[in-house]
């Protein structure tokens, strides 16, 4: 409660400081800066120090729970400190208002620094991801050795009910999860790459402007649909259809088969392949096409023998980006793939993936230090590293490709 009072007082002080500073400057003549800049300057010096103290207070103190108001001495002290700093800032800055004072430069400097802080947030986020995941992973690797994690062939993070129980510690071998992830991603790519690439070729080389105007946004809808919708579609429509289809052929298809999840994931990443490949194909210089036509090649021969080789690196980049999407995709596999870790390459069997296991390990109720919860972070670390490597390679390949034809 006291926090809210402080916040409101700080805000009104800042607003007041703006008007006081501006009014004082308006009365002067031959100013270096516009009066409003003097106002901004005083407001900045009033609001900022107080706000920084206030933020430290909020972070240090657990968030207020509304029934018990914070009336302890430290709280009251902090409120007084916040408001006092603001008042001192106001007093100090208001005295600086004079015709020679370069308020605009000061305000712009502050704004510029704020911008720099904003643009470093991307780096801070990456560091935050790495640190948070790494820190918990190190705790995990104290319990489970790294080579057992990376090369173990069995994944069964059991919970120990008794200490002497069989498999009390659980088995944390990542290989079955990795095989499952790769299997489903491969199925997805087998669906998405031919369809996406042929669509891109058709749209950029054959389709008229009218078809393009309709088909391109329509396909992009696929990229905008939330993955949970795909998951529902896979679990409710595709998986039973696959099982029935398998029964007709006399095959034994698991109800949570890898092929159902992979198919739907493939549909999801079609637009990633098609729109990036479309851009890449359009970037191939017209002169290459013209040269090929001049030699008497047909349109399709030009595409397959000139344009595709020329665009190859860009297309590979788009496929790599799609692959990283498929590996990191969560909801489709959580809803349509299985939970048990089977080490198999059979697309009709149920397999599990890295992301599925992260979700299963973390959505239950268990203490935070158990090997199970920590294992989720170790999986997250692996996932982050793999997708990061794929992304870096893909972005690099695409950039080199763009530079080649610019």
């Amino acid at each position: 409660m006291l926090q809210i009072f402080t916040a409101i007082t700080l805000l009104s002080l800042t607003l007041g400081a703006y008007f006081v500073g501006r009014n004082r400057a308006v009365k002067l003549i031959k100013l270096h800066s516009l009066p409003s800049y003097h106002g901004y300057f005083t407001a900045l010096w009033t609001g900022l120090p107080g706000a920084i103290l206030f933020l430290i207070w909020i972070v240090a103190e657990p968030l207020p729970t509304f029934p018990n108001f914070c009336y302890s001495t430290s709280c009251i002290l902090f409120t007084i400190l916040c408001l006092l700093t603001s008042s001192v800032g106001l007093m100090w800055s208001i005295n600086l208002v004079s015709p020679q004072f370069q308020a605009r430069n000061q305000v712009e400097l502050a704004l510029r620094n704020f911008m720099i802080v904003c643009s470093t947030i991307a780096i801070v986020t990456t560091i935050g991801i790495v640190l948070s995941v790494l820190f918990e992973s190190i705790l995990f690797f104290h319990k489970i050795p790294l080579n057992e994690f990376l090369f173990g062939l069995e994944w069964s993070p059991g919970t120990a009910i008794r200490a002497d129980q069989v498999g009390a510690s659980g088995k944390f071998g990542i290989i079955p999860l990795f095989v499952g992830t790769i299997l489903i991603s491969c199925i997805a790519l087998l669906v998405a790459v031919p369809i996406g690439l042929l669509t891109a070729i058709h749209l950029s080389e054959y389709a008229g402007p009218k078809t393009r105007a309709i088909a391109k946004p329509a396909l992009e809808i696929l990229a905008g649909i939330p993955t949970v919708v795909y998951g529902f579609f896979a679990a409710l429509t595709v998986a039973p259809a696959m099982r029935d289809f398998g029964n007709i052929l006399g095959l034994d298809v698991a109800s949570e088969s890898a092929i159902a999840a992979g198919l739907v994931m493939g549909i999801m990443i079609i637009p990633f392949v098609s729109s990036l490949s479309d851009d890449v194909i359009n970037a191939v210089p017209q002169s290459l096409r013209d040269g090929s036509y001049a030699l008497g090649a047909t349109h399709s021969e030009t595409v397959t023998r000139v344009i595709l080789p020329a665009a190859l690196s860009g297309i590979v980049g788009s496929i790599l980006l799609a692959a990283s999407r498929a590996i990191g995709e969560t909801m489709i596999v959580v809803m349509a793939a299985g939970l048990s870790a089977n080490l198999t390459f059979n697309p009709l069997a149920a397999v599990t993936t890295v992301t599925v296991q992260i979700v299963t390990l973390l959505t239950g109720d268990q203490e935070f230090d158990s090997a199970k919860t920590l294992a989720a972070f170790a999986l997250g670390l692996v996932l982050f590293i793999v997708t990061l490597i794929l992304n870096i390679i893909a972005l690099h390949v695409v950039r080199v490709y763009r530079e080649q034809y610019e």
Partner: protein, 431 residues
């Protein structure tokens, strides 16, 4: 001489293979068309399958019962206070009305099965009805009572009556009762207003997406408030001020990579940093908003930079030429022109955030929450997570609810994207 035979040979070769090559050309064109058709067919199939199974959730079965709102049961001492009226045994009243319709039912077990025809929430509806109109007490009133989900499913044709009775959700006796009710015109499908207002529930007929929509609203609000200003500021700095050096390059690479990091990793970050390190409450829209703002920040920065890049240099130079500082030129002249593009980017980023599920599962927004969230610190769930929860539920009644919730979610997404497109078409200037 030699030359002529050579070219003659070539011409022969060309004429001989020409038809084959044209056939290949035709086939290739067909492949492309087929691929595009498959892609578009997937869009259509997805929408049709969702709409097909979701539309029926907009109607809910209700039973018309003549309920005897007797004074003895509701307000025996005639105190007329809302407290007394609110605590009366409305479930009993509904049961009595049902038993009166089927006087032949005397067996205790059968009586219980019969009272299972109405929803567990029906008594609260009746209570609210009486509380709103106390003058009804003492009269016999015909009320449309919410039916149990199994009744609803049977009438909508989702329960196969051909299966063996023991494997069915509803037994032959109950079906006979329902048929009798239908024959006497006591069953009807009413528009399911509760679906849009209620919070989650274990009973499909009572579950609604109101709580999830509110949760999504709070979460997106936090995400927008944080990521839009920060994204714009970062974009302005990187596009207009940043010197070309290693650190700038590092930031740019970072932003591009963050845009492709799996969203579940952001959830792990939220769990480790916001919840475990800063001790913020689990399941709160505040934490969800923080995570989603980090997730959408790269999208907004990239879109805002493109918008700034599209503003011609002459605008900046004209402002600088009449004595504006660089900051003034950007904030008074470039930024207003780039704003539509930036807003478009922000809306598209928010649309992506609205559909995000995985990171929110990590920070505990997956809990079963019945109450509507009142603020950003209350436990809440969001629309896509609600869809995930319902899709996991074994109850048949939740299938249509899930599809209906998906329809609402897709509706919001289409709305946001339409706004973005309109914004772009109306305000974007070509230079």
């Amino acid at each position: 001489m030699n030359n002529i035979t050579d070219s003659q040979k070539t011409i022969d070769l060309v004429t001989r293979t020409l038809n084959k090559r044209y056939a290949a050309e035709y086939r290739f064109k067909l492949y492309g068309l087929a691929a595009m058709t498959i892609g578009l067919a997937c869009v259509v199939l997805l929408f049709i399958s969702i709409i097909f199974s979701g539309t029926s959730a907009l109607w809910q079965t209700r039973l018309r019962l003549d309920i005897d709102l007797s004074v003895e049961v509701i307000d025996p001492d005639n105190q007329k206070s809302l407290e007394v009226i609110g605590e009366a045994d409305y479930a009993g009243l509904i049961r009595d009305a049902l038993f009166k319709l089927f006087p032949e039912v005397t067996n205790k077990q059968q009586k219980r099965a019969l009272s299972g025809l109405v929803s567990a929430g029906a008594e609260f509806e009746l209570r609210d009805l009486v509380l709103a109109a106390p003058e009804l007490i003492g009269t016999q009133h015909s009320v449309w009572i919410l039916a149990h989900s199994n009744v609803d499913m049977l009438l909508k044709g989702y329960i196969d009556q051909q299966i063996v009775e023991t494997e069915r959700k509803i037994d032959d006796q109950t079906i006979a009762w329902i048929n009798q009710l239908v024959a006497t015109n006591r069953v009807a499908q009413h528009f399911n207003r509760d679906f849009f207002i209620n919070g989650d529930s274990r009973d499909p007929e009572l579950a609604g997406i109101g709580g999830a929509i509110l949760g999504s609203f709070y979460t997106l609000l936090i995400a927008l408030i944080l990521s839009f200003p920060i994204g714009i500021m970062a974009a302005i700095y990187l596009e207009e001020f940043a010197p070309v050096n290693f650190i700038t390059y590092l930031i740019e690479v970072n932003i591009n990579n963050l845009a492709a990091v799996p969203s579940i990793v952001f959830g792990l970050l939220g769990l480790a940093v916001f919840i475990n390190f800063f001790g913020m409450p689990r399941s709160a829209p505040l934490v969800g908003g923080l995570v989603l703002s980090l997730l959408t920040l790269p999208t907004i920065i990239i879109a805002s930079r493109a918008a700034l890049k599209a503003v011609p240099t002459s605008i900046r130079e004209a402002a600088l030429g009449i004595g504006a500082s660089k900051m003034q030129a950007i904030f008074y002249h470039v930024l207003p022109l780039a704003m539509p593009g930036m807003l478009t980017g922000a809306i598209i980023g928010m649309a992506r955030a609205l559909g995000e599920t995985a990171p929110l599962l990590m920070i505990g927004m997956v809990a079963f929450i019945v109450d509507l969230p009142q603020g950003i610190l209350d436990p809440a769930t969001v629309l896509p997570v609600q869809i995930f929860l319902w899709a996991d539920s074994p109850e048949r009644g939740f299938v249509e609810k899930t599809s209906a919730a998906i329809m609402v979610l897709l509706g919001f997404l289409i709305l946001m994207n339409t706004i973005a497109v309109i914004l772009r078409n109306r305000f974007e200037r070509r230079w």
